[in-house]
Symmetry: C2
Subunit: 240 residues, 2 copies
Protein backbone atom coordinates (compact mmCIF):
# COMPACT_ATOMS: atom_id res chain seq x y z
CA UNK A 1 0.00 0.00 0.00
CA UNK A 2 2.74 2.38 1.06
CA UNK A 3 4.84 1.66 -1.98
CA UNK A 4 1.91 1.91 -4.32
CA UNK A 5 1.14 5.29 -2.83
CA UNK A 6 4.65 6.60 -3.20
CA UNK A 7 5.05 5.14 -6.66
CA UNK A 8 1.86 6.81 -7.78
CA UNK A 9 2.72 9.95 -5.87
CA UNK A 10 4.04 12.07 -8.64
CA UNK A 11 1.29 11.13 -11.05
CA UNK A 12 -1.40 12.00 -8.55
CA UNK A 13 -0.42 15.63 -8.25
CA UNK A 14 0.84 15.96 -11.80
CA UNK A 15 -2.50 14.89 -13.15
CA UNK A 16 -4.37 17.04 -10.66
CA UNK A 17 -7.05 19.18 -12.25
CA UNK A 18 -6.18 22.18 -10.09
CA UNK A 19 -2.41 21.69 -10.14
CA UNK A 20 -1.75 25.09 -11.66
CA UNK A 21 -4.35 27.09 -9.79
CA UNK A 22 -4.27 25.76 -6.24
CA UNK A 23 -1.76 26.77 -3.58
CA UNK A 24 0.57 24.03 -4.84
CA UNK A 25 1.09 25.92 -8.11
CA UNK A 26 4.71 26.66 -9.01
CA UNK A 27 6.16 24.09 -6.66
CA UNK A 28 8.99 22.03 -8.08
CA UNK A 29 8.92 18.26 -8.56
CA UNK A 30 10.63 17.51 -5.27
CA UNK A 31 8.22 19.71 -3.33
CA UNK A 32 5.25 18.18 -5.11
CA UNK A 33 6.57 14.74 -4.23
CA UNK A 34 6.65 15.60 -0.52
CA UNK A 35 3.27 17.28 -0.61
CA UNK A 36 1.85 14.27 -2.34
CA UNK A 37 3.22 11.97 0.30
CA UNK A 38 1.47 13.83 3.09
CA UNK A 39 -1.81 14.47 1.23
CA UNK A 40 -4.71 12.09 0.76
CA UNK A 41 -7.49 12.34 -1.76
CA UNK A 42 -10.99 11.92 -0.54
CA UNK A 43 -14.35 11.70 -2.27
CA UNK A 44 -17.37 13.28 -0.67
CA UNK A 45 -21.02 12.73 -1.48
CA UNK A 46 -23.32 15.72 -1.70
CA UNK A 47 -24.36 16.49 1.86
CA UNK A 48 -21.34 14.83 3.41
CA UNK A 49 -19.47 16.81 6.06
CA UNK A 50 -15.70 17.33 5.80
CA UNK A 51 -15.29 19.09 9.10
CA UNK A 52 -17.49 20.38 11.85
CA UNK A 53 -17.48 23.81 13.38
CA UNK A 54 -15.31 23.92 16.49
CA UNK A 55 -13.45 20.76 15.57
CA UNK A 56 -9.88 20.61 16.65
CA UNK A 57 -8.23 21.89 13.50
CA UNK A 58 -6.69 18.58 12.53
CA UNK A 59 -7.18 18.71 8.81
CA UNK A 60 -6.86 21.23 5.99
CA UNK A 61 -7.85 20.58 2.40
CA UNK A 62 -7.83 21.70 -1.18
CA UNK A 63 -10.86 21.39 -3.41
CA UNK A 64 -10.16 19.47 -6.61
CA UNK A 65 -13.69 19.02 -7.89
CA UNK A 66 -17.16 19.99 -6.75
CA UNK A 67 -18.57 22.70 -4.54
CA UNK A 68 -18.58 22.92 -0.76
CA UNK A 69 -20.02 25.36 1.74
CA UNK A 70 -18.39 26.86 4.82
CA UNK A 71 -20.96 27.66 7.45
CA UNK A 72 -21.65 28.53 11.05
CA UNK A 73 -24.77 28.95 13.16
CA UNK A 74 -26.17 31.01 15.98
CA UNK A 75 -26.84 29.20 19.23
CA UNK A 76 -30.52 29.17 18.36
CA UNK A 77 -29.76 27.26 15.21
CA UNK A 78 -29.97 29.85 12.45
CA UNK A 79 -27.36 29.08 9.83
CA UNK A 80 -25.13 31.48 7.95
CA UNK A 81 -23.10 30.28 5.00
CA UNK A 82 -19.72 32.02 5.19
CA UNK A 83 -18.50 31.12 1.76
CA UNK A 84 -18.42 28.58 -1.01
CA UNK A 85 -15.33 26.59 -1.91
CA UNK A 86 -14.74 25.96 -5.61
CA UNK A 87 -12.06 23.84 -7.25
CA UNK A 88 -8.56 25.05 -6.28
CA UNK A 89 -9.87 26.75 -3.13
CA UNK A 90 -8.23 26.03 0.19
CA UNK A 91 -10.21 25.14 3.32
CA UNK A 92 -9.32 24.88 6.96
CA UNK A 93 -7.27 26.75 9.50
CA UNK A 94 -3.51 26.30 9.35
CA UNK A 95 -1.50 27.53 12.36
CA UNK A 96 -4.57 27.50 14.57
CA UNK A 97 -6.26 25.28 17.05
CA UNK A 98 -9.80 24.99 15.91
CA UNK A 99 -11.74 25.22 12.71
CA UNK A 100 -14.12 28.12 13.10
CA UNK A 101 -16.64 26.82 10.58
CA UNK A 102 -18.12 23.61 9.29
CA UNK A 103 -17.55 22.35 5.76
CA UNK A 104 -20.09 20.31 3.83
CA UNK A 105 -20.14 19.18 0.21
CA UNK A 106 -22.98 20.64 -1.85
CA UNK A 107 -22.21 18.44 -4.84
CA UNK A 108 -20.18 15.26 -5.08
CA UNK A 109 -16.68 16.49 -4.45
CA UNK A 110 -13.06 15.46 -4.55
CA UNK A 111 -10.69 17.04 -2.07
CA UNK A 112 -7.03 16.71 -1.18
CA UNK A 113 -6.63 16.62 2.60
CA UNK A 114 -3.61 17.10 4.82
CA UNK A 115 -3.07 16.53 8.49
CA UNK A 116 -2.69 20.03 9.80
CA UNK A 117 0.57 19.30 11.58
CA UNK A 118 2.10 17.94 8.37
CA UNK A 119 0.79 20.82 6.35
CA UNK A 120 1.99 23.46 8.81
CA UNK A 121 5.47 21.97 8.89
CA UNK A 122 5.66 21.76 5.12
CA UNK A 123 4.36 25.31 4.73
CA UNK A 124 6.91 26.79 7.12
CA UNK A 125 9.68 25.09 5.22
CA UNK A 126 8.42 26.17 1.80
CA UNK A 127 7.92 29.90 1.47
CA UNK A 128 6.55 29.54 -2.03
CA UNK A 129 3.59 27.62 -0.72
CA UNK A 130 3.12 30.08 2.10
CA UNK A 131 3.17 32.88 -0.41
CA UNK A 132 0.52 31.19 -2.53
CA UNK A 133 -1.59 30.61 0.54
CA UNK A 134 -1.15 34.23 1.58
CA UNK A 135 -2.32 35.54 -1.80
CA UNK A 136 -5.31 33.24 -1.71
CA UNK A 137 -6.19 34.22 1.86
CA UNK A 138 -5.95 37.92 1.00
CA UNK A 139 -8.31 37.42 -1.95
CA UNK A 140 -10.70 35.46 0.19
CA UNK A 141 -10.67 38.21 2.81
CA UNK A 142 -11.51 40.78 0.12
CA UNK A 143 -14.38 38.63 -1.13
CA UNK A 144 -15.66 38.04 2.39
CA UNK A 145 -15.61 41.75 3.12
CA UNK A 146 -17.54 42.48 -0.05
CA UNK A 147 -20.14 39.99 1.17
CA UNK A 148 -20.39 41.91 4.46
CA UNK A 149 -21.73 44.87 2.49
CA UNK A 150 -24.38 42.60 1.04
CA UNK A 151 -25.37 41.18 4.42
CA UNK A 152 -25.35 44.49 6.24
CA UNK A 153 -26.70 46.95 3.76
CA UNK A 154 -28.63 45.34 0.91
CA UNK A 155 -32.31 44.47 0.68
CA UNK A 156 -33.64 41.13 -0.52
CA UNK A 157 -33.86 42.21 -4.15
CA UNK A 158 -30.28 43.48 -4.24
CA UNK A 159 -29.07 40.39 -2.43
CA UNK A 160 -30.61 37.92 -4.84
CA UNK A 161 -29.54 39.89 -7.92
CA UNK A 162 -25.98 39.98 -6.59
CA UNK A 163 -26.11 36.29 -5.81
CA UNK A 164 -27.30 35.31 -9.28
CA UNK A 165 -24.63 37.39 -10.98
CA UNK A 166 -21.97 36.02 -8.67
CA UNK A 167 -22.99 32.44 -9.35
CA UNK A 168 -23.12 32.92 -13.10
CA UNK A 169 -19.62 34.33 -13.00
CA UNK A 170 -18.16 31.72 -10.70
CA UNK A 171 -19.73 28.74 -12.40
CA UNK A 172 -18.93 29.87 -15.94
CA UNK A 173 -15.20 29.15 -16.17
CA UNK A 174 -15.92 25.43 -15.82
CA UNK A 175 -15.89 25.10 -19.59
CA UNK A 176 -12.98 27.48 -19.92
CA UNK A 177 -12.15 25.92 -23.26
CA UNK A 178 -12.32 27.98 -26.46
CA UNK A 179 -16.04 27.30 -26.62
CA UNK A 180 -16.87 28.81 -23.32
CA UNK A 181 -20.00 27.63 -21.62
CA UNK A 182 -22.67 30.27 -21.49
CA UNK A 183 -22.62 32.07 -18.19
CA UNK A 184 -26.29 32.91 -18.54
CA UNK A 185 -27.66 29.42 -18.00
CA UNK A 186 -26.38 27.43 -15.08
CA UNK A 187 -27.29 24.79 -12.59
CA UNK A 188 -27.92 26.05 -9.10
CA UNK A 189 -25.80 23.95 -6.77
CA UNK A 190 -27.73 25.27 -3.76
CA UNK A 191 -31.23 24.64 -2.51
CA UNK A 192 -33.51 27.58 -1.76
CA UNK A 193 -32.75 27.16 1.93
CA UNK A 194 -29.02 27.26 1.27
CA UNK A 195 -29.39 30.36 -0.88
CA UNK A 196 -31.27 31.93 2.02
CA UNK A 197 -28.39 30.95 4.33
CA UNK A 198 -25.89 32.62 2.01
CA UNK A 199 -27.90 35.83 1.81
CA UNK A 200 -29.07 36.14 5.39
CA UNK A 201 -32.74 35.75 4.42
CA UNK A 202 -35.49 33.18 4.91
CA UNK A 203 -36.41 30.60 2.33
CA UNK A 204 -39.79 32.27 1.74
CA UNK A 205 -38.24 35.62 0.93
CA UNK A 206 -35.81 33.99 -1.49
CA UNK A 207 -38.63 32.12 -3.17
CA UNK A 208 -40.71 35.27 -3.53
CA UNK A 209 -37.79 37.18 -5.03
CA UNK A 210 -37.16 34.37 -7.53
CA UNK A 211 -40.81 34.52 -8.55
CA UNK A 212 -40.69 38.30 -8.83
CA UNK A 213 -37.61 38.21 -11.07
CA UNK A 214 -39.21 35.50 -13.20
CA UNK A 215 -42.43 37.46 -13.62
CA UNK A 216 -40.41 40.53 -14.57
CA UNK A 217 -38.61 38.49 -17.23
CA UNK A 218 -35.20 39.03 -15.67
CA UNK A 219 -34.58 35.32 -15.26
CA UNK A 220 -36.07 31.99 -16.23
CA UNK A 221 -36.30 29.00 -13.94
CA UNK A 222 -36.55 25.86 -16.08
CA UNK A 223 -36.42 23.75 -12.92
CA UNK A 224 -35.77 24.26 -9.24
CA UNK A 225 -32.08 23.71 -9.75
CA UNK A 226 -31.60 25.69 -12.94
CA UNK A 227 -31.46 29.40 -13.60
CA UNK A 228 -31.17 31.41 -16.78
CA UNK A 229 -30.27 35.06 -16.75
CA UNK A 230 -32.33 36.86 -19.37
CA UNK A 231 -31.73 40.51 -18.61
CA UNK A 232 -28.25 40.67 -17.18
CA UNK A 233 -27.99 44.45 -17.42
CA UNK A 234 -31.16 44.94 -15.48
CA UNK A 235 -29.93 42.54 -12.78
CA UNK A 236 -26.65 44.42 -12.65
CA UNK A 237 -28.54 47.66 -12.07
CA UNK A 238 -30.41 46.05 -9.20
CA UNK A 239 -27.27 44.56 -7.70
CA UNK A 240 -25.23 47.76 -8.19
Amino acid sequence: MESIQSEAALNFCQACAVRNRAICADLDDEEIRILNSIGRRRHLEAGEQLFWEGDEAIVVANVIEGLLKLSTQTSDGKEQILGLAYPSDFMGRPFGNSTPYGVEALTPALVCTFQRADFDRFAREHPKLEHNLLERTLSELDRTRRWMLLLGRMNAEQKLATFLLDMSERLAPKGCAPFEQSADAFELPLSRQQIADVLGLTIETVSRQFTKFRKQGLIDLPSRREAVIQKRERLEELAQ
Copy 2:
Protein backbone atom coordinates in the same frame (compact mmCIF):
# COMPACT_ATOMS: atom_id res chain seq x y z
CA MET B 1 16.39 65.26 6.06
CA GLU B 2 17.27 62.01 4.35
CA SER B 3 20.27 61.44 6.55
CA ILE B 4 18.38 62.20 9.71
CA GLN B 5 15.82 59.62 8.68
CA SER B 6 18.38 56.89 8.03
CA GLU B 7 20.39 57.73 11.14
CA ALA B 8 17.32 57.41 13.27
CA ALA B 9 16.22 54.33 11.40
CA LEU B 10 17.09 51.65 13.87
CA ASN B 11 15.78 53.53 16.83
CA PHE B 12 12.46 54.14 15.18
CA CYS B 13 11.52 50.49 14.92
CA GLN B 14 13.31 49.42 18.07
CA ALA B 15 11.31 51.85 20.11
CA CYS B 16 8.11 50.99 18.28
CA ALA B 17 5.19 50.30 20.57
CA VAL B 18 3.99 47.38 18.48
CA ARG B 19 7.43 46.02 17.61
CA ASN B 20 6.71 42.62 19.14
CA ARG B 21 3.13 42.22 18.06
CA ALA B 22 2.99 43.56 14.50
CA ILE B 23 4.02 41.62 11.42
CA CYS B 24 7.57 42.83 11.93
CA ALA B 25 7.87 40.73 15.08
CA ASP B 26 10.81 38.30 15.16
CA LEU B 27 12.71 40.00 12.38
CA ASP B 28 16.42 40.40 12.98
CA ASP B 29 18.27 43.71 13.21
CA GLU B 30 19.30 43.74 9.57
CA GLU B 31 15.75 43.08 8.40
CA ILE B 32 14.39 45.72 10.71
CA ARG B 33 16.95 48.16 9.35
CA ILE B 34 15.74 47.58 5.78
CA LEU B 35 12.08 47.72 6.75
CA ASN B 36 12.73 50.92 8.58
CA SER B 37 14.37 52.45 5.55
CA ILE B 38 11.33 51.81 3.38
CA GLY B 39 8.72 52.72 6.00
CA ARG B 40 7.50 56.15 6.98
CA ARG B 41 5.61 57.12 10.09
CA ARG B 42 2.55 59.22 9.70
CA HIS B 43 0.22 60.91 12.15
CA LEU B 44 -3.47 61.05 11.41
CA GLU B 45 -6.09 63.23 13.02
CA ALA B 46 -9.42 61.70 13.95
CA GLY B 47 -11.50 61.73 10.78
CA GLU B 48 -8.51 61.83 8.47
CA GLN B 49 -8.50 59.37 5.59
CA LEU B 50 -5.48 57.12 5.00
CA PHE B 51 -6.76 55.55 1.82
CA TRP B 52 -9.88 55.67 -0.27
CA GLU B 53 -11.86 52.73 -1.55
CA GLY B 54 -10.81 51.82 -5.07
CA ASP B 55 -7.49 53.63 -4.79
CA GLU B 56 -4.67 52.13 -6.68
CA ALA B 57 -3.15 50.01 -3.94
CA ILE B 58 -0.04 52.12 -3.56
CA VAL B 59 0.35 52.00 0.17
CA VAL B 60 0.07 49.48 2.97
CA ALA B 61 0.41 50.31 6.65
CA ASN B 62 0.71 49.11 10.20
CA VAL B 63 -1.18 50.69 13.05
CA ILE B 64 1.08 51.84 15.86
CA GLU B 65 -1.39 53.85 17.91
CA GLY B 66 -5.05 54.74 17.66
CA LEU B 67 -8.05 53.15 16.02
CA LEU B 68 -9.07 53.19 12.36
CA LYS B 69 -12.03 51.89 10.44
CA LEU B 70 -12.08 49.99 7.15
CA SER B 71 -15.26 50.68 5.26
CA THR B 72 -17.11 50.46 1.98
CA GLN B 73 -20.45 51.70 0.70
CA THR B 74 -23.28 50.75 -1.60
CA SER B 75 -23.75 52.84 -4.71
CA ASP B 76 -26.66 54.58 -2.99
CA GLY B 77 -24.36 55.71 -0.22
CA LYS B 78 -25.11 53.37 2.66
CA GLU B 79 -21.93 52.64 4.53
CA GLN B 80 -20.75 49.35 5.98
CA ILE B 81 -17.76 49.25 8.28
CA LEU B 82 -15.77 46.12 7.42
CA GLY B 83 -13.50 46.11 10.41
CA LEU B 84 -11.57 48.14 12.92
CA ALA B 85 -7.80 48.35 12.95
CA TYR B 86 -6.12 48.40 16.37
CA PRO B 87 -2.46 48.88 17.20
CA SER B 88 -0.30 46.21 15.52
CA ASP B 89 -2.96 45.53 12.86
CA PHE B 90 -2.01 45.57 9.23
CA MET B 91 -3.99 47.48 6.60
CA GLY B 92 -3.97 47.52 2.83
CA ARG B 93 -3.73 45.06 0.00
CA PRO B 94 -0.29 43.64 -0.75
CA PHE B 95 0.11 41.79 -4.06
CA GLY B 96 -2.99 43.41 -5.51
CA ASN B 97 -3.93 46.32 -7.65
CA SER B 98 -6.53 48.20 -5.72
CA THR B 99 -7.53 48.72 -2.14
CA PRO B 100 -11.03 47.33 -1.79
CA TYR B 101 -11.94 49.53 1.15
CA GLY B 102 -11.36 52.99 2.55
CA VAL B 103 -9.45 53.60 5.77
CA GLU B 104 -10.17 56.48 8.12
CA ALA B 105 -8.82 57.27 11.56
CA LEU B 106 -11.45 57.21 14.32
CA THR B 107 -9.04 58.60 16.91
CA PRO B 108 -5.75 60.41 16.46
CA ALA B 109 -3.50 57.69 15.10
CA LEU B 110 0.06 56.86 14.30
CA VAL B 111 0.74 54.50 11.43
CA CYS B 112 3.78 53.11 9.70
CA THR B 113 3.27 53.20 5.93
CA PHE B 114 5.09 51.48 3.10
CA GLN B 115 4.93 51.94 -0.63
CA ARG B 116 3.30 48.76 -1.77
CA ALA B 117 5.98 47.96 -4.32
CA ASP B 118 8.67 48.23 -1.62
CA PHE B 119 6.66 46.21 0.81
CA ASP B 120 5.84 43.46 -1.70
CA ARG B 121 9.49 43.13 -2.68
CA PHE B 122 10.64 42.98 0.92
CA ALA B 123 7.93 40.46 1.82
CA ARG B 124 8.81 38.10 -1.01
CA GLU B 125 12.42 38.14 0.11
CA HIS B 126 11.63 37.59 3.77
CA PRO B 127 9.50 34.54 4.45
CA LYS B 128 9.35 35.31 8.14
CA LEU B 129 7.45 38.49 7.43
CA GLU B 130 5.19 36.72 4.96
CA HIS B 131 4.49 34.10 7.56
CA ASN B 132 3.57 36.72 10.13
CA LEU B 133 1.34 38.42 7.61
CA LEU B 134 -0.28 35.09 6.73
CA GLU B 135 -1.09 34.30 10.35
CA ARG B 136 -2.52 37.75 10.81
CA THR B 137 -4.60 37.52 7.63
CA LEU B 138 -5.96 34.12 8.62
CA SER B 139 -7.03 35.49 12.00
CA GLU B 140 -8.62 38.50 10.37
CA LEU B 141 -10.52 36.22 8.00
CA ASP B 142 -11.83 34.21 10.95
CA ARG B 143 -12.92 37.37 12.70
CA THR B 144 -14.57 38.73 9.55
CA ARG B 145 -16.49 35.50 9.05
CA ARG B 146 -17.72 35.59 12.62
CA TRP B 147 -19.02 39.08 11.90
CA MET B 148 -20.92 37.73 8.89
CA LEU B 149 -23.01 35.66 11.29
CA LEU B 150 -23.83 38.84 13.19
CA LEU B 151 -24.76 40.75 10.05
CA GLY B 152 -26.77 37.95 8.48
CA ARG B 153 -28.53 36.31 11.37
CA MET B 154 -28.70 38.47 14.48
CA ASN B 155 -31.34 40.98 15.52
CA ALA B 156 -30.56 44.46 16.79
CA GLU B 157 -30.40 43.39 20.43
CA GLN B 158 -27.97 40.55 19.74
CA LYS B 159 -25.89 42.80 17.52
CA LEU B 160 -25.43 45.54 20.08
CA ALA B 161 -24.76 43.11 22.92
CA THR B 162 -22.10 41.41 20.79
CA PHE B 163 -20.62 44.75 19.84
CA LEU B 164 -20.33 45.95 23.43
CA LEU B 165 -18.67 42.74 24.57
CA ASP B 166 -16.31 42.82 21.62
CA MET B 167 -15.30 46.41 22.31
CA SER B 168 -14.76 45.81 26.00
CA GLU B 169 -12.50 42.91 25.16
CA ARG B 170 -10.55 44.65 22.43
CA LEU B 171 -10.07 47.90 24.27
CA ALA B 172 -9.12 46.31 27.57
CA PRO B 173 -5.52 45.23 26.87
CA LYS B 174 -4.54 48.89 26.49
CA GLY B 175 -3.48 48.96 30.09
CA CYS B 176 -2.00 45.48 29.90
CA ALA B 177 0.21 46.32 32.87
CA PRO B 178 -0.13 44.43 36.14
CA PHE B 179 -2.92 46.75 37.14
CA GLU B 180 -5.12 45.97 34.23
CA GLN B 181 -7.62 48.55 33.24
CA SER B 182 -11.14 47.44 33.90
CA ALA B 183 -12.71 46.00 30.79
CA ASP B 184 -16.15 46.98 32.01
CA ALA B 185 -15.74 50.72 31.59
CA PHE B 186 -14.39 52.03 28.34
CA GLU B 187 -14.49 54.94 26.00
CA LEU B 188 -16.47 54.36 22.83
CA PRO B 189 -14.22 55.35 19.96
CA LEU B 190 -17.20 55.30 17.57
CA SER B 191 -20.16 57.62 17.13
CA ARG B 192 -23.67 56.18 17.13
CA GLN B 193 -23.70 56.40 13.36
CA GLN B 194 -20.43 54.49 13.12
CA ILE B 195 -21.72 51.81 15.47
CA ALA B 196 -24.74 51.53 13.20
CA ASP B 197 -22.39 51.15 10.24
CA VAL B 198 -20.53 48.36 12.00
CA LEU B 199 -23.70 46.49 12.86
CA GLY B 200 -25.70 47.00 9.68
CA LEU B 201 -28.39 49.03 11.48
CA THR B 202 -29.63 52.62 11.48
CA ILE B 203 -28.55 55.17 14.04
CA GLU B 204 -32.05 55.29 15.52
CA THR B 205 -32.14 51.56 16.14
CA VAL B 206 -28.74 51.69 17.81
CA SER B 207 -29.82 54.57 20.01
CA ARG B 208 -33.02 52.77 21.04
CA GLN B 209 -31.10 49.62 21.92
CA PHE B 210 -28.62 51.61 24.03
CA THR B 211 -31.52 53.17 25.88
CA LYS B 212 -33.16 49.80 26.37
CA PHE B 213 -29.99 48.25 27.80
CA ARG B 214 -29.53 51.25 30.08
CA LYS B 215 -33.09 51.06 31.37
CA GLN B 216 -32.64 47.35 31.98
CA GLY B 217 -29.51 48.11 34.00
CA LEU B 218 -27.27 46.07 31.71
CA ILE B 219 -25.06 49.05 30.94
CA ASP B 220 -24.48 52.61 32.04
CA LEU B 221 -23.79 55.49 29.69
CA PRO B 222 -21.96 58.21 31.65
CA SER B 223 -21.60 60.20 28.44
CA ARG B 224 -22.17 59.66 24.74
CA ARG B 225 -18.68 58.35 24.32
CA GLU B 226 -18.48 56.18 27.41
CA ALA B 227 -19.98 52.83 28.24
CA VAL B 228 -19.94 50.74 31.38
CA ILE B 229 -20.95 47.12 31.36
CA GLN B 230 -22.92 46.38 34.51
CA LYS B 231 -24.36 42.95 33.85
CA ARG B 232 -21.84 41.22 31.64
CA GLU B 233 -23.37 37.78 32.04
CA ARG B 234 -26.74 38.99 30.94
CA LEU B 235 -25.19 40.67 27.89
CA GLU B 236 -23.37 37.44 27.08
CA GLU B 237 -26.67 35.58 27.18
CA LEU B 238 -28.15 38.06 24.75
CA ALA B 239 -25.12 37.93 22.47
CA GLN B 240 -24.95 34.13 22.65
